[in-house]
């Protein structure tokens, strides 16, 4: 996965990636490369049942026949899938009973990330399931959740302890045949999170997972499955960050959400993976398939994302609005700076009657980056009175960056109403000077203006996340003007 970015070079000043450090934890690797043996190795390591191995192998055989997609507005050197490790786990010492038993270096890592579990533990209202390079290390708040019958655990545990739920729902929203990266993930996924909210339960905590890629040359392929049973509600937060490395790292995740009648899931992401340095070296390739299925009537799925990291982002959190009166929402802020590339957006597939969807996308581009919105609104013939409202705004900082909007609309029902609005603006010199004149330096001023621009989306985030997201927006644009 080495990158050759010599063709694109020009100095742009930038502050260092704040989360770039490497923790020396003993790591156990799968042999390099990818074939059926790798998959058997992973499955065996995880002591998986036969059906799980079968699922992986089917996905792998399918993946082998697929060409890599080339349609996104992205440019990157060909990825050598044989030149990576597909499994890296901190060497298990033994089952962990309490935080005291967690590897001190790992705790240190969390501390550097500003998400120390100890603090999180005290921070009532947040349960954390931390995933470091594939294996779920520690899940807190299990007891509180258990009282409500809520299952929140690592994907591996779910395979072991709740096979009936996993088998019933896994791959029903994102089948392994869905796309190249979904097939790859289905074959080699290492771990992830599983959530089940029983009937009528309103989850009393914000559930939260922090993902982090640590070891060199390991792809991270996590898989999340959230099932909200009838009349239930959950808000789920995902935060991501990775250490700084010169080589590129691949991340290909799958998130599946299913809501039954009257259920609601709010899924928030703050993605801050290493974007590469100011010359475009290194950084995460983020190819993610996220999709929610509003299976039941009156159910609702909201995606809110703040994307500031990764060298390449390829991501379209989507909603399949199957149940009548179901609602899908997508609120997104994507920031690209330096040589980052983002191709992100959503798909809203209206199947049921009176289904509604809202898309608010705010793209912010700086440096020599490229930021594309790609969205599909599809109204099927049976979706009587379906409604969609889309608003896609782009903000440009400087004149070497690009913003692109690719809205696709397919309406096959005449009673549907689809509205699309788009704007492109530049950060104005008037606004910057106004801030300067009040003593606010240009960097802070940009942070302020950009946060204001993104406010509509930031307001949708849970409190704890909103604060972090605001800081990130400012940090990721440091050195973009000047």
């Amino acid at each position: 996965m080495a990158t050759d970015s010599n063709e694109i070079l020009e100095q742009v000043t930038q502050s260092e990636y704040k989360y770039g450090f490497y923790t020396d934890i003993e790591t156990e690797f799968a042999p390099k490369g990818l074939d059926e043996n790798t998959i058997r190795y992973i499955s065996a390591k995880k002591e998986e049942p036969e059906w799980m191995l079968e699922f992986r192998l089917k996905a792998f055989r399918h993946w082998q026949q697929l060409p890599e997609p080339e349609w996104a507005h992205l440019h990157y050197p060909k990825i050598d899938y044989q030149d990576a490790y597909y499994y890296a786990a901190p060497k298990p010492k033994k089952e962990l009973q309490s935080l005291d038993e967690v590897d001190p270096e790992l705790l240190e890592t969390f501390n550097k990330l500003g998400i120390s579990l100890e603090e999180q533990k005290r921070l009532a209202g947040v349960a954390v399931d931390a995933v470091i390079d594939s294996v779920s290390v520690k899940t807190t708040f299990q007891d509180t959740l258990a009282k409500h019958g809520i299952i929140f655990c690592s994907f591996s545990e779910a395979v072991r302890n709740h096979p009936e739920l996993v088998r019933k729902y896994m791959g029903t929203v994102v089948p392994y045949t869905d796309n190249f990266f979904a097939a790859l993930n289905s074959a080699v996924f290492s771990d992830g999170s599983f959530v089940y909210i029983p009937k009528g339960v309103r989850c009393p905590l914000e559930l939260s997972t922090y993902f982090r890629i640590n070891a060199a040359n390991t792809g991270q392929f996590e898989r999340t499955l959230i099932v909200a049973d009838e009349g239930s509600y959950v808000s789920y937060m995902e935060g991501c960050t990775a250490p700084m490395r010169d080589e590129n790292q691949l991340h290909a995740a799958i998130v599946e959400i299913i809501t039954l009648d009257n259920a609601e899931v709010k899924y928030s992401t703050v993605q801050n993976w290493y974007p590469g340095d100011k010359d475009g070296n290194g950084g995460i390739y983020n190819f993610v398939t996220k999709r929610g299925l509003c299976k039941g009537r009156n159910s609702k799925i909201s995606w809110t994302q703040v994307e500031t990291g990764s060298a390449i982002t390829w991501k379209y959190p989507s909603c399949v609005l199957m149940g009548d009166n179901s609602v899908g929402e997508f609120y997104s802020v994507a920031v690209t700076n330096h040589f980052q590339q983002a191709d992100t957006g959503t798909k809203m597939i209206h199947i049921g009657k009176n289904t509604r969807s809202t898309i608010i996308s705010k793209g912010i581009s700086a440096g020599r980056s490229n930021n594309s919105y790609r969205g599909l609104v599809k109204i099927l013939p049976g979706a009587t009175n379906a409604r969609n409202f889309s608003q896609c705004d782009s903000l440009l900082l400087g004149d070497q960056c690009g913003a692109h909007t690719f809205p696709y609309i397919e309406a096959k029902n005449e009673s549907s109403i689809v509205e699309h609005e788009a704007t492109t603006s530049k950060i104005s010199e008037d606004q910057l000077f106004y801030c300067n004149q009040r003593g606010i330096d240009t960097e802070k001023a940009i942070g302020l203006i950009v946060n204001g621009y993104a406010k509509e989306v930031l307001n949708k985030l849970p409190m704890e996340f909103a604060v972090e997201a605001q800081k990130l927006l400012s940090i990721s644009l440091e050195g973009s003007v000047g």
């Binding site: 106004y434 801030c435 004149q437 606010i440």
Partner: protein
């Protein structure tokens, strides 16, 4: 002397707008600058505050004993120079509260002070809002967004009160204000007036000067100060209009 401008020349896109201007302001003084549209009043304000694109081709601006022509605009602001804008700009999504807090803390940081506490800040806001009769709701709104012309101007004076500048430049703060609003603005300025600061009031009409009595009045014409005098000069100008200034034209 707080501000001493010597032989200032300012060009925009290579075109000279200010053509050799001299002006000295002491602590405790209020100076008014009058003159017809397009003579360079706002350009002078931009040059003092350090706006990009306003090129100082010649001359010096001494402020608190330092020639500031190379200084960044935010540093000038943090050293106590404030401009009440002729056309305040809107910043969507940024609440006045957040904006002001950022500004107040920027200044404190510059002066080596710790950030202001939330409680202290809110108290300060309440106090200063009263000074300009600013509607409580305005501070919850985004900076100048959807503000009426009068509200924008009052908001500028509110910000001035919050930041307590040493040198405040008011660029046509009176334009478009009705008499009540004008009085409020004047009251704000008069309450802040002290021997520790100074004001430079740019105006088109002498009306505002009935409420803020200046120590000196200067007439700016074609990029230069062509006449200076006491407060009576403003009245004289009002009577005679600006027509008679044509003889001072350099062109």
């Amino acid at each position: 002397m707080l501000l001493n401008i010597k032989n200032l020349h300012v060009a925009i896109d290579g075109k000279e707008i200010i053509k050799g201007l001299n002006l000295g302001i002491n602590y405790g003084e209020v100076h008014a600058i009058m003159g017809p549209n397009g003579t360079g009043k706002s350009t002078l304000a931009a040059a003092i505050t350090g706006r990009e694109g306003y090129e100082i081709t010649e001359g010096e601006i001494w402020y608190k004993g330092e020639n500031i022509v190379e200084m960044e605009p935010d540093e000038r602001a943090n050293k106590g120079i404030f401009l009440s804008f002729q056309y305040p700009v809107e910043i969507p999504g940024v609440s006045m509260t957040n904006f002001m807090r950022t500004a107040v803390n920027a200044k404190r940081e510059y002066n080596g002070q710790a950030p202001i506490s939330a409680a202290e800040f809110l108290k300060l806001m309440e106090e200063k809002k009263k000074l300009v009769d600013m509607h409580a709701k305005l501070t919850n709104r985004s900076v100048n967004e959807g503000f009426s012309g009068g509200e924008k101007k009052r908001n500028e004076i509110f910000q001035m009160a919050m930041l307590e500048p040493t040198l405040a430049i008011l660029d046509e703060t009176d334009s478009g204000l009705d008499i009540d609003a004008l009085k409020i603005v004047a009251r704000g300025v008069n309450q802040l007036r002290s021997d520790k600061n100074a004001f430079l009031i740019i105006t088109h009409y002498q009306r505002l000067l009935e409420y803020i009595v200046p120590d000196f009045v200067h007439v700016l014409y074609d990029g230069r100060i062509v006449k200076s005098g006491g407060k009576n000069l403003a009245l004289e100008l009002e009577e005679k209009g600006y027509e008679w200034l044509k003889e001072y034209s350099l062109a």
